[in-house]
Amino acid sequence: MNIQKILLRFGPKAENLLAALREIQKENGYIGEKESKQVAEYFGISEAQAYSAASFYDLLETGKPVKKIIRVCSGGVCVSERSLEIIRQVERMLHIELDNDAHPKYKLETMSCVGRCDRGPVMEIDGKIFEGVRVEMVGEILKDYI
């Protein structure tokens, strides 16, 4: 992926840094040390600043994702809609444990509220959001990813 080409779409001003990082994330999948270096050069900031910004946000990755990340919302509203049972169902079906890194292919995490509480419970796999998830639907949803 040509990072330089992405960067050229943005004026090298501080206020464009996050937008540029978002775009690199979208097209490159992550912002690692190599990418941070290019970003730093382009914006005229230190590598440390570029990387520390990239590593701060949930929606930016600093390494190439190697596993499928399955996330379930643990916000109060989703919990009241039984999202913790969805977590247990995923654990059972994929033989994994919440927050445990052991599985080579999958990782199950919780996530923060995404503001879709009117359509919860919410889960996310590889960046795709699923709404109104019921325990019975989990198998069907996972099918496309395993």
């Binding site: 206020e15 840094l17 996050l18 900031i45 701060f56 929606l59 009241s80 923060s112």
Partner: protein, 408 residues
């Protein structure tokens, strides 16, 4: 009485003319053509409008501070970061009537003398950012945005700034750092943003819902607005109801409404779902206090009430639920969202999260109670920004209200 939701469903959010037909942008015209910045601020002060971002700070007074600053460069920011669990009101405002926020933002920027404005929107709200971008482009075509607004001397440029997933960036100084391309960590206050904010310049940060009130105030006058809702917290508010109620969803109601009415009245929550019995409510998202049934007569205002209304989200929990699940939910959220800048919050939220998991497994005993209280006190009293305190609020209430359901 509807101010925020007045035109929802009736206008096409993607067509500016549809908003203009409802007399949209008339308030902006009135402000830039008939009023000077000072009289706009006076009008907003007289209206009694208070910020809807949670703390209820008087809007006009905040503007006055920035207006007084002599700096040639000032900024105005619409806070649409909205990431309090259970809160999606600003998302609705953006998608159902984006022009109302833009009009409010323009009026605000004109009043304080800011030539550059930003809408800082939650990184998860990609569709809403697009709707806002379309609205902005249309507003620019009509000469509402840009230089020489409607032939006046007022210049206001607006750009949309998308976040990237961080609850703390809703805190105004963290938000400023985020726009500046830094980690979204809060800054030390004072200086407060109206004096020294974005790039060190005077900056106003207002919640999107706060701004959506402005067209009404300018068009109908402060007097009219001040008569709606409660005397010290005038106007209406968007409330979100969740959980064991018959009609969950969003409702616009006058401030000063009682919690009981919001949950039980037919036009709002409609009471408990059949077969469910009220246990407690949490007002204000994960940061909110727990309200027992004996305290439902509480009115929802921005005065120093016992149970702050926060973002306006209310979760109703019934007696079949397990408090341990919620303790986990709160701790899980705050340990993830702690920005890590200060030790008591970074460590405290992490330990609380570990404890929450052990409580769910039944591994925490009465003798551990003092230690948990210790962590909660530290979070509540020693952290750099309010997030640490937020993390302790619901936990502290739960420990007082249901100790026997938490400890073995």
């Amino acid at each position: 009485m509807k101010i925020i939701t007045r035109h929802w469903g009736k206008i096409n959010p993607l067509k500016i003319d549809s908003y203009i037909r409802q007399r949209g942008y008339e308030a902006l015209q009135k402000a830039v053509r008939e009023m000077d910045p000072k009289s706009v601020i006076d009008e907003v002060k007289k209206s009694g409008l208070r910020g809807r971002g949670g703390a209820g700070f008087p809007t006009g007074e905040k503007w006055e501070i920035a207006a007084r600053e002599k700096s040639p460069e000032k900024y105005f920011i619409c806070n649409l970061d909205e990431s309090e669990p259970g809160t999606y009101k600003d998302r609705l405002i953006a998608e159902k009537n984006p022009h109302q926020v833009i009009e409010g933002l323009l009026i605000g920027a004109y009043a304080v003398g800011a030539k550059k404005a930003y809408i800082y929107i939650n990184g998860r709200y990609a569709e809403q950012a697009e709707v806002l971008q379309i609205a902005l482009d249309q507003a620019r075509e009509k000469e509402f945005v840009g230089s020489g607004i409607l032939g006046s001397a007022a210049d206001v440029e607006i750009s949309i700034h998308q976040g990237a997933g961080a609850y703390i960036c809703g805190e105004e100084t963290a938000l400023l750092n985020s726009i500046e391309g830094k980690r979204g960590e809060p800054r030390l206050k004072p200086l407060f943003p109206p004096v020294s904010g974005l790039f060190g310049k005077p900056t106003i940060v207002n919640n999107a819902e706060t701004l959506a009130n402005l067209p009404y105030i300018i068009r109908h006058g402060a007097q009219n607005y001040a008569e709606i809702g409660s005397k010290t917290s005038p106007g209406t508010k968007l409330f979100l109801l969740h959980g064991a109620v018959k009609n969950p969803g969003f409702f616009e109601a006058p401030l000063g409404i009682g919690l009981r009415e919001l949950i039980f009245a037919k036009e709002y929550g409609g009471g408990m779902k059949s077969g469910k019995e009220f246990w407690f409510a949490q007002a204000g998202g994960a940061s909110g206090r727990l309200v027992p049934s004996g305290k439902l007569d509480q009115v929802l205002t921005y005065d120093n009430c016992e149970y702050p209304l926060g973002s306006g989200s209310v979760l109703v929990v019934d007696k079949t639920e397990d408090i341990k699940d919620y303790l986990f939910s709160w701790a899980d959220f705050f340990h993830r969202e702690s920005c890590g800048k200060c030790v008591p919050c970074r460590e405290g939220t992490y330990r609380l999260w570990e404890i929450a998991k052990r409580i769910r497994n039944g591994d925490i005993r009465e003798r551990d109670r003092e230690n948990v209280e210790d962590i909660l006190w530290t979070l509540g009293n020693t952290t750099f920004c309010p997030l640490g305190k937020f993390a302790s609020v619901a936990w502290s209430d739960a420990m007082k209200m249901f100790p026997d359901k938490i400890f073995k």
